[in-house]
């Protein structure tokens, strides 16, 4: 395995929800164009960590964030750059698919339109391109004008993934993207991640150990707001060092 570059460097990240210390001294180097899986049981701060990465934490006035998150040599937590530009570098996929209240076509075109590209011909081509990338084109090409909510959950989640790709991000952030889906749809999403990883750095939050085993290149294991152990997937699964990790992998964690 060749030496990997770092896409995101997180230094001493601390997050408080009011008085509650949700994330404690987080330090991670997320490798470029790999799938990094953040693993841990519910409520351990995985989602918060993900939201820090594109500063959606800004939306909630009771959350305080300290530390550094360095992307492309710039600390995005204290950046002067417009937050919308920072967010545009990352596609976000949430637990439940939340298609925008528009038709299928416009769900994809939305990101392009708000970044100023409005030519009909160009949009048509890009919409087709992105829908093909997520293997949805064949299923929806005859009903692009239907509301996105008429799709099945699995299709909606793929649509949301494509929507995230339209703004040409370097990074995909995914928060338990398959937890609401049936096994077939889950597989489809996982395969998409594996296909996309040559172009994108993926950060995936999950509580499913098997999913992590299937697709992770790098694993971060969290417990109650702290990182217990992190490392390349092989090492992490085959040769864990910490007692907590071992018991989690054995399935006896509490």
């Amino acid at each position: 395995m060749k030496a990997t570059e770092t896409e995101i460097k997180i230094n001493n990240l601390n997050v408080f929800h009011g008085n509650h210390h949700t994330l404690k001294n987080i330090n991670i180097e997320i490798p470029k164009q790999k799938i990094t899986v953040i693993l841990g049981s519910s409520g351990c701060g995985k989602t918060t960590l993900l939201k820090c990465l594109n500063r959606l934490t800004d939306l909630y006035s009771n959350i305080k964030v300290n530390g550094e998150i360095i992307i492309n040599g710039e600390d995005i937590l204290h950046s002067k750059e417009d937050i919308t530009n920072i967010r545009r570098k990352m596609g976000l996929l949430s637990q439940m698919p939340y298609p925008l209240p528009m038709n299928i076509y416009n769900n994809i075109a939305y990101g392009l339109k708000i970044s100023g590209r409005k030519k009909k011909k160009y949009l048509n081509k890009r919409v087709e391109y992105y829908l093909k990338q997520i293997n949805l084109w064949e299923e929806v090409k005859d009903r692009l004008k239907d509301p996105a909510s008429s799709l099945s959950l699995g299709q909606q989640q793929r649509l949301c993934l494509a929507r995230g790709l339209t703004v040409d991000p370097n990074i995909i952030l995914a928060d338990e993207p398959t937890s609401a889906l049936d096994p077939v749809s889950s597989n489809a999403i996982e395969e998409l991640f594996l296909n996309l990883k040559q172009h994108y750095t993926t950060v995936l939050v999950t509580h499913t150990l098997r999913q992590a085993k299937r697709i992770a290149d790098y694993v971060v294991f969290m417990y109650l707001g702290e990182i217990i152990e992190q490392g390349p997937a092989d090492e992490f699964f085959n040769n864990p060092k910490m007692e907590k990790t071992k018991s989690y992998l054995r399935g006896t964690s509490n």
Binding site: Y98, P99, L100
Partner: protein
């Protein structure tokens, strides 16, 4: 208890049937088209044209909605998207107080404040006016329906999941773009429904409007003309001329029109909010 429930449930039906039976006398002698579209209202000559009253009602209601709807929409967006949380907590009792003020108090305020105000601004539009106009009625009504529209809108905007907002923001949309393209669109069935309920309230409101609208039986041509809405017609005349059975029946027919219109908008509003979840 069941009997009470049944009583409450059949009440609207009973009222509707009652109004219909009472207006049959009029309906037997006049065609419904004639009643709705004839312009002459001369009860003593047996001419019952409701057209001026219906048009007045529509004018007053539309004026009220045009004023109230944008104000309520922007207020609801500000309260749910921009302001601090405690502000919303302060607003709830304020809205309840607005909703609880008796209609006649609004009427008095209208006479004391709105009517002179309209009278002063009328010359700007090249009109002389006493101030007792459709516009005054519309302004008073717009304040009265604000709490009802606002309450629904706040609820609608609060119930939009944060994740939808996050999805739009994570695509690099600004907050305003997110509100404009995503949240308002998501809320649109609710917005339509709240306006429908506003209309049905405004259409039937009697006292406050009656006090400021002029009550002249003439078809208003613009908002600075006086008008005579249906509820005012009934309130002003019922009880006075019951010696003429046809007049009595005509007023009941007026009430029936009100009842049907209000019912219609109520049902439409409820349907849009439940069935029209297009997206």
């Amino acid at each position: 208890m069941l009997a009470c429930l049944l009583l409450v449930m059949t009440m609207p039906l009973l009222i509707g049937i009652g109004l219909f039976l009472k207006s049959t006398l009029l309906l037997d002698n006049n065609s419904i088209i004639n009643l709705l579209f004839s312009k002459t209202w001369k009860p003593l000559n047996q001419n019952f044209g409701f057209y001026p009253f219906i048009i007045s009602s529509i004018w007053v209601t539309l004026t009220a909605i045009i004023i109230a709807a944008p104000i309520c929409l922007l207020t609801a967006i500000y309260l749910t998207q921009y302001s601090k949380k405690y502000f919303l907590k302060i607003m709830h009792p304020v809205i309840d107080i607005l909703a609880g003020i008796p209609s006649v108090v609004y009427g008095v305020c209208g006479v004391l404040i709105i009517v002179p105000f309209v009278s002063t601004i009328a010359p700007i539009f090249g009109k002389q006016s006493s101030g007792y106009t459709i516009l005054s009625g519309g302004i008073v009504l717009s304040i009265m329906i604000t709490p009802f529209i606002l309450n629904i809108l706040i609820e609608i905007f609060r119930n939009i999941p944060d994740e939808l907002k996050e999805a739009s923001l994570s695509l690099g949309a600004t907050k305003w773009e997110t509100i404009k393209f995503v949240l308002i669109k998501k809320a649109s069935p609710g917005i339509i429904s709240s306006i429908g309920l506003g209309i049905s309230r405004a259409f039937g409101e009697t006292m406050a409007v009656l006090m400021v609208v002029g009550n002249v039986t003439k078809i208003p041509k613009n908002a600075l003309d006086p008008g005579y809405p249906l509820p005012a017609l009934i309130a002003n005349n019922y009880g006075e001329m019951l010696s003429i059975p046809m007049y009595d029946s005509a007023l009941m027919f007026g009430a029936l029109i009100l009842f049907v219109v209000v019912l219609f908008f109520n049902i439409i509003s409820r349907l849009t909010i439940t069935k029209l979840e297009i997206y």
